[in-house]
């Protein structure tokens, strides 16, 4: 799911940048044929994207239950409850902290790795593929691996104690902020290869001529990096920054698995999506409240996207 998100803005942004080449000849087909081609995709879009969006808004004003049954409108009650819900405050705070740590790490480290694998050295394909492996693994698998490594007696605590960095094991999987930090390390580790590919594509578009010209003018490696490489990948960097922010707000599996579905002691390390999931099932579930939470989540994820749009339109003007 997340993996396919990379190229979203690229796909949308390209029409403005590239001269129009395609677009088949006019007056070739009848009016119905194009819609036959589009029908399945549009039907899916309607049933599984557009209708659920509207239905989410509708349900947010009801007390709908996961097991069906009587449903009635409750006005703004769900939203009023959100404002008084400590778990929502916790979840939002966790997301912000998570985002603030992930953002610098995931915009810079993948660029450095992309620069490392950009040169076509013998065996470079092997390294690229290997660096991409964490991306293709399921978040469940990755979270289980890290749960074991971050265990009180696990690899990380064991090594750190062996090397006398710490005297007592750190409770990576039970203390609230350590859970957040563990989730960050897991996310960064899993995301490196993903963002590396985006940078790699961007680096490929930076003209080699520019580098050569700069080198002929006597620019050193550092100067070439700041004067040629960085401006060349600026667009990719912005895109990645936004993707990282949005992804931070959508975190679920990592924390769910690492805390056995609890979100740590007292559920303090819960994320927004974990809250939505908790209210989605069983007798104690509440689809109305979960829908209100979904709207809140959507509203927050739109912010980084709007920022990107603004920056983009300014730099194009």
């Amino acid at each position: 799911m997340t993996a396919t998100d990379i190229s979203a803005p690229a796909a949308g942004g390209q029409p403005t940048r590239r001269p129009r080449r395609g677009g088949g000849p006019a007056r070739t087909t009848n009016r119905i044929t194009p819609w036959l081609f589009l029908a399945p995709a549009l039907a899916w879009l309607l049933v599984f994207s557009i209708w659920p969006s509207l239905n989410t808004i509708r349900m947010a004003f009801t007390n709908a239950k996961p097991l069906g049954g009587n449903e009635r409108y409750v006005g703004l009650e769900n939203f009023a409850l959100i404002l008084r819900d400590d778990q929502v405050v916790n979840a939002l705070l966790n997301s912000v902290v998570f985002m603030l740590i992930c953002l610098p790490l995931l915009t810079i480290l993948p660029l450095l790795i992309a620069l490392l694998v950009e040169k076509k050295l013998p065996g470079i394909t092997f390294f690229r593929t290997a660096f991409y492996t964490p991306v293709i693994a399921s978040a469940v698998v990755v979270a289980l691996i890290w749960t074991f490594m971050l265990d009180d007696r696990g690899l990380v605590n064991g090594l750190a104690q062996q090397l006398s960095f710490i005297s007592e094991p750190l409770p990576f999987l039970t203390e609230r902020w350590l859970i957040v930090i563990s989730a960050v390390s897991l996310t960064v580790w899993k995301g490196l290869g993903y963002y590396m590919i985006i940078y790699l594509a961007a680096l490929g578009n930076v003209g080699k001529e520019l580098h050569e010209a700069a080198a002929m003018d006597g620019a050193g490696a550092v100067r070439r990096f700041t004067a040629v490489t960085l401006p060349g990948v600026r667009g990719a960097m912005l895109l990645i920054a936004v993707l990282v922010c949005v992804a931070a707000l959508r975190v679920f599996t990592e924390v769910f698995i690492m805390t056995g579905g609890t979100g740590g002691a007292g559920g303090e390390a819960l994320t927004m999506v974990m809250l939505i999931q908790q209210y989605s099932r069983g007798f104690s579930g509440d689809l109305g409240y979960a829908s209100a939470l979904s709207i809140l989540m959507f509203a927050i994820t739109v912010v980084p996207l709007l920022l990107l749009g603004k920056i983009n339109s300014r730099s194009n003007a």
Binding site: T4, R21, L144, A215
Partner: protein, 306 residues
């Protein structure tokens, strides 16, 4: 490093009648060959990153092969099992119906690949190569849904699936994922980049829209189709949240849900959890290793570029 750029660099030098060698040598040092020191440095860094990226998988693999008599919590990590055994894997097979979970995951993943490849190529072709009223609106619809995080509509999607009578069914898990707006746009992009002349001739010869799609356009966008197929498979195979919401009976569990069940039930048996996670990871790693050439090629061709 192409011949074209070399010539371009050489022209002004020749024109100003200066001696060409010095700039060329400087350029060569910067770009052509790498000094031995730099090569060693680069490989050292590559190996370092490799250890970070692959190390945890190897550690898990090693744990899954350790026998019960071996301590898996030693302070100094033992990567090589002292008495390698596959007993942890057989115990996983006894604890959960692994094969049926794999079958369930495969079912969902195959539907996701088929749906995404067929529907998004059809739609992308129509948007890019057929001219008709309403094309812009349709394209706008696909673009607009991109900003919608799937998690925000997951509750309403569950209600829809329940209305269809598909709650707690594999079809219910597979159905919403059978098309992604993003893939339609990726195909739209790929089809748009084919030059218009390609199918003008076909139009003159009286080819139908479907013939143009199938025999002319499709063969030229194989790279993008491969990327979509690979991503759809991985996405469906790895998905956790949606099947977790839809499925309730263990018979229908996909592998990720089964794995979570395993880790919850045998939380103190780390060797078994390790074996279970390897069972989920190895198939996808093999699929990717086999197809990685198409993947990286496809990504370079279109997709991410821009």
């Amino acid at each position: 490093m192409s011949a074209v750029t070399d010539q371009r660099g050489a022209v002004p030098v020749a024109a100003s009648a200066a001696a060409p060698p010095p700039p060329r040598r400087r350029r060569a040092r910067g770009f052509g060959s790498m000094s031995l020191g730099e090569k060693i440095g680069r490989y050292a860094l590559l190996v370092f990153v490799l250890l970070i990226c692959v190390g945890p998988f190897l550690w898990q693999l090693s744990t899954s092969l350790k026998s019960r008599s071996e301590d898996i919590y030693t302070r100094i990590p033992q990567l090589w099992p002292s008495e390698p055994t596959i007993s942890n894997y057989t115990r996983v097979m006894e604890a959960i119906p692994v094969w049926s979970f794999i079958g369930n995951s495969l079912f969902v993943a195959v539907l996701a690949v088929a749906g995404n490849v067929i529907f998004s190529t059809l739609a992308g072709f129509a948007l890019a190569r057929l001219r008709f009223r309403g094309a812009k609106v349709a394209l706008g619809l696909f673009l607009a849904t991109l900003i919608l995080p799937g998690e925000a509509t997951i509750i309403a999607n569950f209600v829809t699936i329940r209305t269809f009578g598909l709650a707690d069914s594999l079809l219910g898990v597979a159905l919403p994922g059978m098309i992604a707006a993003l893939n339609v746009l990726l195909m739209y992009n790929a089809f748009r980049q084919l030059p218009a002349e390609v199918d003008e001739a076909a139009v003159i010869d009286g080819a139908t829209a479907f013939q143009r799609f199938w025999s002319i356009a499709m063969p030229s966008v194989r790279g993008t189709v491969a990327v979509i197929a690979i991503f759809s498979f991985i996405g469906a195979w790895d998905d956790f949240l949606w099947p977790l919401i839809v499925l309730t009976s263990p018979d229908n569990f996909t592998l990720t849900i089964g794995l979570q069940y395993l880790s919850g039930t045998f939380s103190n048996d780390q060797r078994m959890i390790a074996a279970g996670s390897m069972i989920a990871f190895v198939p996808i790693a093999i699929v990717f290793a086999v197809l990685q050439r198409h993947f990286f090629k496809g990504v370079e061709e279109g997709g991410v570029k821009g």
